[in-house]
């Protein structure tokens, strides 16, 4: 599940875990609707049309939720980065 390469050292492993933790926190800050569209697009690799079919939503709604989800993720990561020393 976690892609741990044999060449990854302790520092890299710690940094990767920290990034994963920040990403998880930022994702949880999004609303369910925005998170669902974002994960289907970025992680599952579905197109906007496929997402619209899967979630039974208009294509315009998918695109607007995707844009807001991405923006919200960016802001959440930026605010977490500022909080983290």
């Amino acid at each position: 599940m976690s892609a741990v390469s044999p060449a990854e050292g302790p520092y890299e492993r710690l940094a990767r875990r920290e990034r994963a933790r920040r990403m998880e926190t930022a994702l949880l800050a999004l609303s369910f609707d925005h998170r669902a569209v974002l994960l289907l697009r970025e992680v599952e690799g579905l197109s906007c049309e496929e997402i619209a079919t899967t979630l039974a939503l208009p294509i315009g709604t998918v695109k607007s939720r995707l844009a807001r989800g991405r923006d919200g993720l960016r802001r959440a990561l930026a605010s977490r980065g500022e909080e983290t020393p």
Binding site: M1, S2, A3, R19, A20, M23, L27, L38, E42, V43, E44, G45, C48, K63, L66, A67, R70, D71, L73, R74, L77
Partner: protein
């Protein structure tokens, strides 16, 4: 195109969903504005990080539960939707309230039916301990006499009919214990011999039947009462 306009198009630009002319404008702005270019790189870096996250495979149990729930949501709504965990999504909740409303109406109807006062019975119920009074003759009548008490004044003898002394002399040392029922008109309706000398009984009973009384009264109303007397030779000799 302004910086704000360019940044609002980052999402579509990443998906290459902009028209060619808009995409050209955005690209030209990013080439000229260092701040927006840095923002664009950061935007893509964050999303690339998310895209590089391997998807989590659900365990068999979780997948089965998800598919079960999806299957339930595809079916017609029913009461099962009402009893899902509180935090779970409830699609079609309003249609599923229809059977719930029927259940509620049924419960309320049952409660109202139980609360209604029953109609009085038109048919007289059979004899039971609760309605013995209906089967007995009226209290205070000759067939159901009362007993003297604080509320029932005793009858007063109006014309005592003494037992002839010769009859008692004939019967020797006997005595009688009798119950006399004094009727509402003052006459003696019945004399019952409860104990004593049977030879003495008949003439004494005849004499007692001829007695007349002021009737006993209960709340001013004449009532029949039973009085008990022990008649002995001493009573006769006293006359």
């Amino acid at each position: 195109m302004s910086c704000r306009g360019v940044r609002s198009r980052f999402s579509e630009h990443r998906d290459q969903a902009l028209h060619a002319s808009e995409a050209g404008d955005v690209a030209a702005h990013l080439g000229a504005c260092a701040e927006c270019a840095a923002e664009w790189r950061s935007f893509n870096a964050d999303l690339d990080l998310l895209s590089s996250t391997p998807p989590v495979e659900a365990t068999g149990e979780i997948a089965a539960r998800v598919f079960d729930r999806l299957d339930m949501e595809r079916r017609q709504p029913g009461l099962s939707l009402l009893f899902r965990p509180f935090g779970a999504a409830r699609p079609l909740i309003w249609p599923s309230l229809v059977p719930a409303a029927f259940v509620l109406v049924g419960i309320l109807g049952g409660a109202l039916a139980l609360d209604r006062v029953p109609e009085p019975l038109s048919v007289r119920p059979s004899a039971s301990l609760s309605n013995w009074d209906a089967l007995l003759p009226p209290s205070g009548s000759e067939a159901n006499p009362l007993f003297t008490s604080a509320e029932v004044s005793p009858p007063r003898m109006r014309s005592p009919e003494r037992v002839p002394s010769y009859l008692l002399k004939q019967s020797g040392e006997g005595s009688l214990f009798v119950e006399t029922v004094v009727a509402r008109d003052g006459s003696v309706s019945a004399v019952n011999v409860l104990g004593g000398d049977s030879d003495l009984a008949r003439p004494v009973v005849d004499a007692l039947r001829r007695e007349r009384y002021e009737p006993a009264r209960f709340r001013g109303r004449p009532v029949a009462v039973s009085i008990y007397r022990l008649i002995s030779r001493m009573e006769v000799w006293g006359t």
